[in-house]
Each structure stands twice: as C-alpha cells, then as structure tokens.
Symmetry: D3
Subunit: 221 residues, 6 copies
C-alpha cells in the first residue's frame, strides 16, 4: 500500500482545503506518496487570532492521534504552524509546518526573505516564530495585505495588494518572498512574474520536504 | 476597593498553588494591590509536555474571561508561560508570564543567565521561547534537575540536584540563575547562598512587575 | 521603619527631579517602600554627551556610598543609565537603571520596541547599550525629537514631535514605544492615546521593579 | 521524458559517487524525477582544503553549463557546498547544496543541531557558511572525527568515532545531528540508533528538496 | 632589505591598479614596509559576478604561491575578498582582504556602518560575507550606485550617485560609510565632506593593518 | 615635524607603561609616526573594577584635552577601553582602544576568538563591551588567569596559567586568542608557540591601526 501524507487544513473552511489540495497536485507522483488533504472541522472558519491558533490544538492533536496509523507523515497547512510541537508528541512520524518549511525553503532561494501576511495582527506571532527559529537575520520584513475579509474575495484587488506589498518588501531588501498564508497558492506564478523574485508557496514547500522524509523513513526519536 | 492581581497556577495541583501563594507573601503590602492565587482545575497535575501546555490554554482563557472584571492584572505561574498571548487577547489588563519576567529580571542581575529546569524535555520548548524573546545571547545555558517525580518529593535530594545543576551553569558562564519552575520558591534563599550568585524566583519577578503595572495603570492597546 | 527606594536624578536640574517625583507618585503605597527622589547637584544641567555621562559617575558613586545605609534600593533616573555598573559595586542592594528597565518592560508589551530619544547624538550611546543588553533583535529603531533646548520648553511643539517620531517608529515596525528620557513622563498618557500602542515611561518601569526587589529582599552577591 | 536531478560529486573519487548514488535510491520513485549522479573528474580525490573547494569551481561550473539543458535540477554533493553561488548563475534551474539543505532540514527535527565533520580544518569553513546562512543560534557545535584517511576505511573505527563525537555534541546541547560529509550515508541508521536523536544525511535532505522544486517548477529569477 | 606588502588587484584592469597604487601612497613611509601593487592578468576586467570571484581564485593562489617568498604580506584589493581563505593556505604570512578590513575599521568609527556597492547583484554576496563575519548587527544597510559601466567613467555622475546613496544609508542609520569597491578611492575626501560622516576607503584600511602585521611579525599558524 | 601617536596607560603604574612602550617598539619606523607613551598619573595602580574604569575617565579626558594639539592620534592602552567614547568627544583625531582593536584584529586571524583576562570580575564588563561591538557570535569565550596580584609577579606561574587558560579556550572552539590586558605583551611569542594558534597583543593591534589612520588622515566628523 502506498504511504500517504496527510495535509491538514486546521480551519474548517472547505474551500480553503480545496485550494490546498490544488496546490498539492504537482507533487503527486505515480509511485510517490499519496497526498491527501483534510479539514479540521472543529477549527475556526479562519485563523486570525492567537486564540484561534491555541484553541484548535486540542482537536488537532486528537485528529492526528486518531488518524496516526493511516498516514506516513503530516503537514499542518496554516502559516502559524498551530500545534506543531504538540502534534510531534503524538506521533514519531514526520510532522512539518508550512511556515517553517516556507521560510527554510526561501533561505535556499535568496539572501533576505520577506513575508506577505494577510493581517497586521498576525505579524507579532510570526515574528515570535521566526525568533524561535533563529532566522531573524535573514528576514527583510513582514507586511500585511490587510484587506477586510469581504474584499479578499475580490481576486483582482487581493492580487494588487500582494504585488504592492511584495514591492515594498523588495525595497526593504527582500530578494525572495514567502506567501504567509495557505490560501494564496493560486497567485504564486503571477506574483513571481510581477515581482521578479522567487515566490515560495509554503504548502508546496512543506509537502516537498514531507515526500523526502517519507521516502527516507527518518523517524523522530 | 483594592485592585487585585490574580496569579494563576495553570496546573491542578493545589499544593503547588499554595507554594506559589507563599512565594507571593512578601509582595503583599497594605495599600498595595491584593495578590490572589487560583488553581486552574482543568489543568493537568503537572505541566510537562507541549500537549499539557497547549491543552490548558482553552480552559485558561475561559477562566480569565470569566474573572476578567474582578482583577486588575493576571500572572500565569508556569515557567512555559502557557497561553500568555491568548490571554492577552482576552483582556487589555496586564498579563505577565513568569518565564519572561524571570528572564528579564535576571538580565538586571548578571551578564549571563542560566536556567534550572525540572525536565530535559522542557528545554527545547524553553529555548524556543528564549529565541522568540530575542535574548539567546544572554543565556549561558539551561540544564535539568531531571529527577523522577517521586524523588522530587525528597527535598534534600532535589536541592542537592539544584545545587549541582546551578554549579554546572556557573561553569558555563552564568552569573545569575533563574528557577525554571513555579514550584521551586522555597529553595531560593538556600540556593543563592550555596551558589554565590543571584537566584531569581520567577513568580516573584512577575508579580513584582505586575504590581507596578497595576499602579501606573498602563493598558495594552 | 519603612525601607525606601532612592530615585536619583543624576543631572542638577531640580525641575527635572520634580517631574521624576511626580512620575513616581502612583507607585507610592501606604505599606510599600517609600520612594524618595534626589538631585545629584554635581551633575550637569542636562545629560547630553558621553562626557556628561562619564563625568557624573564619580560624584554619583560618592553620593550613593554616602547614602547607602539609608535606603533599600537605588534607581538611576537618566536614560543613559550612567554609572549603573559602578554603583552596583558600591552597594549589594538593588540598583536599577531606567533604560534597562524601560526596555525590558517594553519587551512584555510588544514584539518590537521603538525608542524616542531627545537628541540624535545620544543614539549611538543607546545603541551600544542595547547591544550590550543583547536585545537588538527586538529593537525596531530609535529616533530623536531633536528640538533645540529652548523649544523643548514649548510643550505643544515637543509633544507634536514625539507623536511624529512615534508614528515613524510604528512604520518601522514598533508596536510598543519607550520614552528615552526621564523627563517625558507627563506626556505618556496622551502619547499612548495618540499612537495607539503602549508607551513605557522608564522611571516608572524601574521603580516598579525596585519595589518588588525591596520586598523580596534579593541581594546581589 | 522524465525530468532528472543531477547529483554531482565534486571530487573525483568514483567510490564516493557510488555511495551518494546508493543514498539517493530511496528517493527514486517510478513517476518522480530521475535521480542521476555524476563525478566531477577534474575534482580532487577528496575535498579537504579551501583550495580544493575553490579550485573545483571553474570545472564544476563548466560541467553544469555543459549539462544544463539535460537536467531539471542540480545538487552539489559536498558538505562545503562548493561553487553553489556560481552554479546558480549558470542556470535558473534549482541548484541545492547538501550543507544548506542538511542544516535546514535539521532545523525541522530539533532545537539545536550538531555537525559531525571529517576534519578539524574544515570547521572554520563550515562556521563561516553557517554564519552566512544566519543560523548560528541554532548550532550547538561542530566536531571532527579527525581520523587519518587510511583509518577512515576501517568502518568500525570510523563508526566508533562518529558515535563518540555525536555523544559529545549531545552533551553540548544538540538534539539533532547533521552528517557533515557526503560519504557518511551508510552509517546513518546505525548512528541514529546509537545516539537516540535524529541524524540527517545531507544528500538525502538536498535531493528531497530538489524533487519538490522540480515538481512545482519554481525557477529562480 | 625592506620587507614589502603586495597589494593585488585581482582584476586585469591596469587603470584600476594604478588607482589602488595611488590610494596606497600615503601609507608609504621611509623605513616602513614597501607597498607594491600588482595586477592579476588572468583576472576578469571587472569583478561583477560570483563566477568572476570564484574563477580568479586558482590564478590568484598560483600568483601568490609564485611570489610568496618575495613579500612579507598580501592584500587582496577587491571588495569581495576573493580567494582570501585559499590564499591563507598558500602562505603563513599575513593575508588581508579589503572588505573585512574596511568593515572592521568602520566599526571603530561609528555605531552602524553602511556600504556603497557598485552593483545590486553584488549585495547578496556581500551580505553572506558580513553574515560569515558575524557583524550584521552593526550593518545599517548596503545600497548600490547601479550605474551602467559606461556612465561610471563620468566622474561627476558617479560621485553624485555615491552622495545620494550615502545619504540614504545615513537615513537608514549609518553613521560611517564603507566604500564597497577598490576603485572609489579618489572620491573619499569629497564624499566624507559631503556626507558629514567618516568614509572608509577599504584598501587603505587593509594596507594599514598589513603594515602593523609586518612590523610585529605575527605569523598565522 | 613628525606626527605622533600617544599611547596612554590609564593606570599610574610606570612599570606597566614601560612594558607598553616595549610592545610599541617594532611599530616605530624611521619615517612613520612617532609613538610615545604616557602614564595617567591620576589613574589607579591597576584597573580592576568598574569604579576604576569610570573613575579615571575625567582625568583621562582632561589629559587628552591638554595634550590634544601635540599628537595626531591617541590609543587607550587598557583592555576595558576606558573613556574611549568621551575621549572621542574631546578630539576629532583618531582615538582607538586596545580591546576593540585587539578583537577586530583577531577577527582577521581566526573564526572564533577567545580572550585571556586577568580577573574573573572583569569578564562581565568585557562581555558587555563585546555585546556593544556586536561580535558575540565570533567569541568562543573569555576566561581569567585569576592569580592574586602577588603571584602575577612570578612570570613562570603566570605564563603557565596563560597557557592552561589558552588551551581551555581552544577546547571551547577558539582558533585565535586575544590577550585581555595591556601588560601581557612580553608573553606573546611564547604563548603563540605553546598554543599553536595566533595570539593577538592588543596594544600592538591598536597602534598598528593608529599608524594607518594618521597616515591617511581621516578625521572623525
């Protein structure tokens, strides 16, 4: 039986999961690990606050515990990497977060990375995470799109904001940009084109690393 | 009515809360803020794993929300500062963690601080936190007492281990030591005596900062 | 007899000492440590240069030595923390500086702090101090009000400059602001209101920490 | 036609290339990118000095330029990542180094990584590289096996030294270990078993990341 | 016989070497080391890319090996310090790079240094070098003149760009500026005048340090 | 008239000044700047405490002010670089400290430097200075000789301790050693021989840089 990687969208918005699933498509290879996606139905509709992040961890760990035997690796597909260290206690199998993998991948693509966040209020949380990762010297900055939720549905407006934020990050020294949300994948190609620097889609970054981990079969100890 | 600081023991062990309450005694002043302690009864008996930390956040935030109006400030009395950023969303009143305040206080008492942890497995979590705080250059190291729970009850053995760990931290360059647990307060004086460097009891460090915060009435925004 | 904290204005301008004394008022509690202020009459009228800072250390240490027995703790109320390490040799009682305590307190209130200095030429000195503290990763920047002394008397103009400098610090990523001078206390509430981020008055930050230190009676060794 | 990843051993020792090829085996998937290996015949027999590193760059870039059209990505399989930035000028296709990918992968597996080098004299070069990567805060140390070349052929002796070096790194705080040479792959499983912490084989780490990069087709710009 | 310092221009442009020679003039003292300059005729006309940097290392090390006995110290006069670590293997005599010496010298002249580069594309390389040096906390930024080669011949235009770039670096916090190219020496005095902060000419910085090294006769080991 | 560099021993022990003068001898060149030494007679006999450091600054600045016109540059020959920033306000001519120049010079000679201090109690002060310099990532450690003053006169014993401390620094990763005192010069050659790594004598490092500064005539601004 083919081993599988479970990519978990920890918010309960199925449309987001479908977008994540689409982002995984190029990483599905005959003979490679299956890549499945799941929605944490106990998650909030969107993950905006620290309470959203912390509140979903108990159901997320329960969910992974329940499904642990069925999968070879787990990816947490929210740019706050919620519960990543708790989930790593639930299973010795690989558990990867899209924020860490997005950033680490960016570090192979440029000298300074910038991050495009959705919301200003997520940035202190992300800064703490980058500090914990020990990579602040490589970070040129993180800036928010900061559109009201309703306007995020307007793809043209959203993309326009991503471009202007990306340009500001370039001015601050970024020569590679990380998309700071699991729901931005469909804009990646156009954004890279527009900005003229590599753009990292973090779910793809994490699933890429998970594939290798499944194949070489390194357990954590 | 006197404003009060609520010091929350986020594990459910009442004996620990009593120890915390004793540690607060010297900080109770006529005319100063009342200092009350509470036990999070939904917390685990001891906070050892990341799942313990993350799992208690929802009941902790609920508890603070319920008691928010009654107190002027909140201290989270576990050296992992569990839920500190979620609780700061629940109230604009001061919320302080004993790990952050213990470390920041140590930074006024020496050039390099060392931390005495209870368990080896907590250290990666504490390292991430120190990284997020941006204070790794001041940290000489963190080492665990690493006694089985049953032997922690043996005060003589526990103190002996704290002394030997403290000495190893001194050899690594620490000239101030932080007690990495809310339950070590009763050993502080003797440990400082034995080690010959200042020893920071982190609950006292946090409550001290909370008293000032209550008096000057700075709200977060 | 009530123990007392002596807050020393190391410049000789009595009006500054009165402002510092006013800033301490909310921290005076009936059963808490007395908080007294003193003016170092050998200090310069204002502390602007490195020579001012270094030149006042001998009289400051003499002053503390002479008054050592009468007080339980000492606060040096100049944002360059002049002589803090010499004074710590004169007494084993707590000695706190307003720059260190202002910054450490800000680190509990935001993810990146900014500092409002009076003069451009003080900033290199402050940068060295932040470097020595090991907290540069948390600093979003320091910017000067840079008004000629005569215009500092114009409160409206001064406040206007503090607001514009504070806004620039916010743009640079600061989500908490430290007042980089002992003489700005009266602007704190209005400035916080105007900027929409917490503003730390450093003398209050230092006295707060000193109160706790007196109560728990930790000597340095 | 299946795209292929070319893993280049930049020293001229074919036996080393065969070991690298074996290390790649688990990452070959029926529908995934082909993984080919090549030996840089102009390279030195072993890469020990800075002159070895720098001297092989011109033939390495020539080699990549010549083969650029035939492959979808390139991995440089020497733990000094020789010529990585020159090769990235030769092609816009992904170019990954095993040192950077080994370290970045370790950062997802522990809080502090240690590196096992072959030679003491390589360590300053590796330290410079980690400094350039901005990841020194995550590094617990790097220590050499330091066996004379002839004795490296003695697998039992070599493994014994790797175990003792790995244990010393653990004592220095490492909770994940990176193999600092492309020729150590066959020891990975046993070493991880012996040390009780994850052990990263860097060629596998790099090829894993390359597979994803080929699939998602991110060009550098 | 007077010992001599050989200052090597690793590009093949003789006019550049003459400019370097002029820059060395004030450092020639009767009774002091002779200061000779040489052109690496195998070098590229200008050093712009990583391939230029890496490609000149083999001829550079060959050149130094050949001339090793004739000189007491070597300075590599290109702001990428090409081959510095290889050359240090060729001789135990002092080998200094103008980038390292320019930056280290700037660290004695201000609190934050800024660098004026010729080309944007050199900046990631310089950032890696500053990261490897461990001095990023002192760097306020690096910005390029970014003029097409033909326009660099226009001294007035070039100087104008250097002034505007230098001013931008000052706004970013630089209080000392390093010239990020061996060919800018003739602009130093005027640039310092214009910017009002010290300007470091890196060849002069390196030769200065080399003179002392020759006199005190410290060999590397 | 030949310009001169004044090397000031800020303690009042003439024997120390003579040792410093001897250390300068190889840097005296017929056509180079004169190198003179002076003793600050108001300085303490030895500089051991922070009060010694701070207390000598007023007479030191007075001394430099008085002699400013007579010299072209000033070196402060105590490893605490006392008063360096005040003296830089007194004159626009070059002012260099032996600690900063010793460390910066070591950064050209190895990847990690270690420092041999005389006294344990000086180390926190030196750590703050290295933090302010922003070079902590390059420091492998600082360790004291820690001999009672009387025993320092015993050269054999002192040298023995320097060797054993130097070896411990090597074990901690140092591949270059800085002598953390102006009075150790006579041991340099033998210590380097014994340790097998470069040993930096800091007064020679500072005077070397001063010679260049005098010749190129860069004023601070």
């Amino acid at each position: 039986m083919t081993p599988s990687i479970l990519v978990i969208n920890p918010n309960c918005t199925e449309a987001m999961t479908r977008g994540i699933d689409d982002a995984c498509a190029p990483l599905r290879m005959p003979g490679g690990p299956a890549i499945e996606t799941a929605t944490l139905k106990e998650g909030p509709p969107g993950i905006e606050t620290q309470q959203h992040v912390d509140g979903l961890i108990p159901p997320l760990t329960a969910f992974v515990r329940k499904n642990e035997a069925k999968h070879a690796a787990f990816v947490i597909a929210c740019y706050s990497d919620p519960g990543i260290f708790s989930v790593r206690e639930v299973t010795k199998k690989p558990v990867l977060g899209i924020a860490e993998c997005g950033i680490l991948t960016a570090m192979t693509l440029g000298s300074k990375f910038g991050v495009i966040a959705i919301l200003q209020k997520s940035i202190p949380r992300h800064l703490r995470y980058m500090g914990a990762m020990g990579v602040m010297d490589r970070c040129a900055g993180e800036l928010p799109v900061d559109l009201p939720v309703l306007e995020l549905a307007d793809e043209k407006k959203t993309f326009g904001r991503m471009v202007s934020v990306g340009r500001k990050l370039r001015e601050q020294g970024a020569d590679v940009v990380v998309m700071g949300c699991a729901g931005m994948a469909r804009y990646r190609d156009a954004l890279q084109q527009e900005l003229g620097v590599p753009v990292v889609e973090p779910t793809q970054a994490a699933v890429s690393m998970a594939i290798g981990r499944v194949r070489v079969n390194w357990e954590r100890i």
